[in-house]
């Protein structure tokens, strides 16, 4: 079960792939099947259920295209 999710501003992504190397659960990759508004192949999550909302991808993104949301468990309220 995912602990959170990321939102990617796909059209701002430059496809540098730095984020993909720092994802501890290896769920990010460049999507070779599409190009964005800038002409880059953007990054996508291929297994979002594994996301742990650690934020590493966003922290390493030079273009600030990733927003990270963490789910809050009811029990913790």
């Amino acid at each position: 079960m995912a602990k959170g999710q990321i939102f990617i501003e796909t059209d701002r992504c430059k496809g540098c792939a730095l984020c993909t190397f720092y994802c501890p659960v290896h769920i990010l990759k460049l999507d070779d099947t599409q190009t964005n508004a800038k002409g880059y192949t953007p990054m996508v999550t291929f297994d979002p259920d594994k996301c742990i909302a650690c934020g590493f991808c966003a922290i390493m993104c030079p273009d600030s295209v990733i927003t990270v949301e963490r789910f809050i468990k009811e029990a913790q309220k």
């Binding site: 430059k14 540098c16 966003a58 922290i59 390493m60 030079p62 273009d63 600030s64 927003t67």
Partner: protein, 252 residues
């Protein structure tokens, strides 16, 4: 549906405009850190940033605070001029190694010498990125550039260690070298920047944070290889750490 909260988003210290850097260039990470630090310290509205000359010349468009563009190397002088007439503002210069370590070394040293209440964000990627990959004062020995085609030799100068040098200046208050090669170091780098801005806020004098950065294009590498190259080659020569902290023991 479980409740949620946003734990990371684009900083409001950055403008809406996309930065113009090449894919994977760590300039973008450093920009985020400057923006986030200023926002978290609630300093953004009274900040004036000084753009320099180099790849970051256009960054007056990328930050959402007031900005002034400076001639090559003169950012610390421009910053001095502003800070003296606007002492309540927060001033940072954003300079590369060509700008600061070469043409602007006098301005950088003397801003520290006068202990100007400014923060220098020094981005060291060991090369002139903007003008097409020429040798800079921080280019490593053996490193090939367009003006050291056979690799830098001693005859072209041994690479300058700016943080170490600036730390010797009596007027410098805080000097640290950081890197942004992984999330842990990005966090450390942000801590260093926040410390520098806090020191400035308290009028305690000159601060400089040197960032080990990359240039995938002119180094001829993928972004990830460039980061790894910086870790393997730059950090051994340019060790990370605090080189000067004149605020230690001050509270007591």
């Amino acid at each position: 549906m479980p409740k949620s909260k946003i734990v990371y988003e684009r900083s409001e210290g950055l403008s809406l405009m996309d930065n113009s850097y090449c894919p994977g260039c760590t300039h973008g990470i450093i920009h985020k850190l400057v923006a986030e630090s200023l926002v978290e310290l609630e300093l953004l509205e009274r900040t004036i940033g000084i753009s320099s000359v180099g790849c970051s010349a256009l960054n007056y468009d990328f930050f959402s605070c007031d900005m002034q563009q400076a001639p090559h190397g003169r950012a610390p002088a421009v910053a001095t001029g502003i800070k003296r007439v606007r002492p309540n503002s927060i001033i940072f210069t954003y300079q590369g190694d060509g700008d600061l370590a070469s043409i602007g070394i006098a301005e950088a040293i003397h801003a520290a010498h006068r202990s100007e209440n400014i923060t220098i964000v020094f981005v060291n990627n060991a090369i002139y990125g903007m003008t097409g990959g020429q040798m800079s004062p921080t280019t490593l020995l053996g490193q090939k550039t367009t003006t050291s085609p056979d690799g830098r030799t001693k005859a072209q100068g041994l690479p300058l260690r700016i943080a170490e040098m600036m730390a010797t200046i009596p007027g410098a208050t805080y000097v640290e070298r950081v890197s942004v090669h992984n999330p842990q170091h990005v966090a450390k780098a942000k801590k260093a920047l926040k410390k520098a801005f806090s020191i400035q806020k308290e009028n305690k004098g000159f601060t400089l944070i040197e960032f080990i950065s990359t240039c995938p294009v002119n180094w001829g590498m993928t972004p990830k290889d460039a980061v790894d190259w910086a870790v393997d080659n730059m950090i051994p020569y340019y060790p990370l750490g605090v080189f000067k902290d004149a605020t230690v023991g001050e509270e007591k």
